[in-house]
Symmetry: C2
Subunit: 348 residues, 2 copies
Amino acid sequence: MAENKPVNVAVVGATGAVGEKIIEILENRDFPINELKLLSSKRSAGKKVLFNNQELIVEEAKPDSFDHVDIALFSAGGSVSKQLAPEAVKRGAVVVDNTSAYRMADDVPLVVPEVNVDDLQSHNGIIANPNCSTIQMVAALKPIQEAFGLSRVIVSTYQAVSGAGNEANDELAEQTRQYLNGEDMTAALLPVKGDENHYPIAFNALPQIDVFQENGYTFEEMKMINESKKILHQQDLAIAATCVRLPFFTSHAESVYIDVEKDGLTVEDIWKVLREADSVVLQDDPGTQTYPTPLSSSNQEDVFVGRVRKDLDDPKGFHLWVVSDNLIKGAALNTIQIAQRLVENKWL
Amino acid sequence: MAENKPVNVAVVGATGAVGEKIIEILENRDFPINELKLLSSKRSAGKKVLFNNQELIVEEAKPDSFDHVDIALFSAGGSVSKQLAPEAVKRGAVVVDNTSAYRMADDVPLVVPEVNVDDLQSHNGIIANPNCSTIQMVAALKPIQEAFGLSRVIVSTYQAVSGAGNEANDELAEQTRQYLNGEDMTAALLPVKGDENHYPIAFNALPQIDVFQENGYTFEEMKMINESKKILHQQDLAIAATCVRLPFFTSHAESVYIDVEKDGLTVEDIWKVLREADSVVLQDDPGTQTYPTPLSSSNQEDVFVGRVRKDLDDPKGFHLWVVSDNLIKGAALNTIQIAQRLVENKWL
């Protein structure tokens, strides 16, 4: 990227779990930054962050914060994006938004660069970064869809608490200590910060991520369903999801059942297209107990796939186990990869 | 059961996780016991156990231990069952075996009393107790199968470490302490005691329960598949499983997708048959965030079902979330319920 003109970048939500990762990855990837502006809520403003050995002070995000910003990376919750992303666009910035605020809007590209980079070209100032659990799944499914067609997806997720932010990490750690000390666990956050009831996540599993919708599915489940269809450009894809929060800090795992269109495929055929896919790493050898886990996939950039099995009844059915770091490829890294493609292709 | 003649009962594996639960439940249920004999490996023999305020000494299990025993409840691993169950039968006992040693044998009934109690009548001395993850699933599926027919099951499990015994509980607790203290985690047991590699379970998910089979599925997955067909008396049932071990101590959860035979059903139709089913408790109200979790289901006798949703694409498809205590209904309680039915029906 050396030939690209350095750009002014703003990170909104700089002190959150994803914001911190974005800053870390921007530093490590040598992104062509002219000026980096760190923005947050009023409450977190004033914090100091080290970037490339330079101390930056986090400022409160306001409409004027986006003057002279080329790319604004938003990860501060949907309401902040709804309020400030249009202000950033009005001032000439391109927004890459990590919230669900704009994902399903017709005029907003929803992009995983390995899957649908060309959708970036039609942006109108805002590009949406998909939900973490969606990104890793479509990254694994795209090469299969392309090679063999895809007609059905049934996914059950195993999701890390960090998807609910740094506070959720603290809650898991604290409840774990309480449980091991024989104390009552205090639950104040999960499953959903703004919902009525809170249940312990330590040594437990909560089959609710985000709020319930009219149809009995949670918003997280509907995100996976609707976003996957949009990213894979396949509105007729039959897809269902059950999303479950589990007591680990990082990386989401997914048990994915698929029906392909093509007949007569073997596990080796699926392995072959996954091996050749960008950002996908196959870790699949039952003979040596090789498969990805949340711990083995944490702090890694790729999407790891294992446990590929042919269904025993449906000749077009396969099972996969897909794991990736929810804060990296599931959020911060994908956001930065979108920004990079915008810069490289001069699509700003 | 007051009218039934008290029987002599032996518990093999009395010091293990399931054996301990069996003794606890035998005491609480007022099972008509004349004499209780506690048996174990040579290593654990000599331990003292309180039963109905009486101190019993655990003895080493040997062929002669089964003289004058009417019912022998085995939970000491498959090799012990293979060696000693025939010896017990030879001496006139009826064996209820908690291991996988005899489950798929044609002349051995595999029984969940609420599902297929009549299969007990054809026993030849040995009755098999199904795998924990199978029991809770078929308990929830049987009323649906009976009312509406069942053609397809795809299950992803969320299984507690206690399924791998008391040692696995200790390993999870110890690794959790190590992780929170910033120490390296020591993994010596999970995912499978006798397998080559061991991985940490604390703050992780392991997509391997029991050893891998030739076809890429684990033995646990094949147990769920084959046992469900046998118990539900439906060899043509299309059924697939992905089994995952998770960092909680007790109760397995299962994300179950089903296709029913009947057209036009609603969530209310599924609710109705589940509400009327023995040993099944419906906990399903998105409006009040009501659904079962491993913690809420632990130390309970029933199978809890929530998150019932109609599939958004397949008019015959439904999703369920099934949770039960893996040591109680999943093991000890079901074993004792089998023994009770044998006594009540004079099928010994």
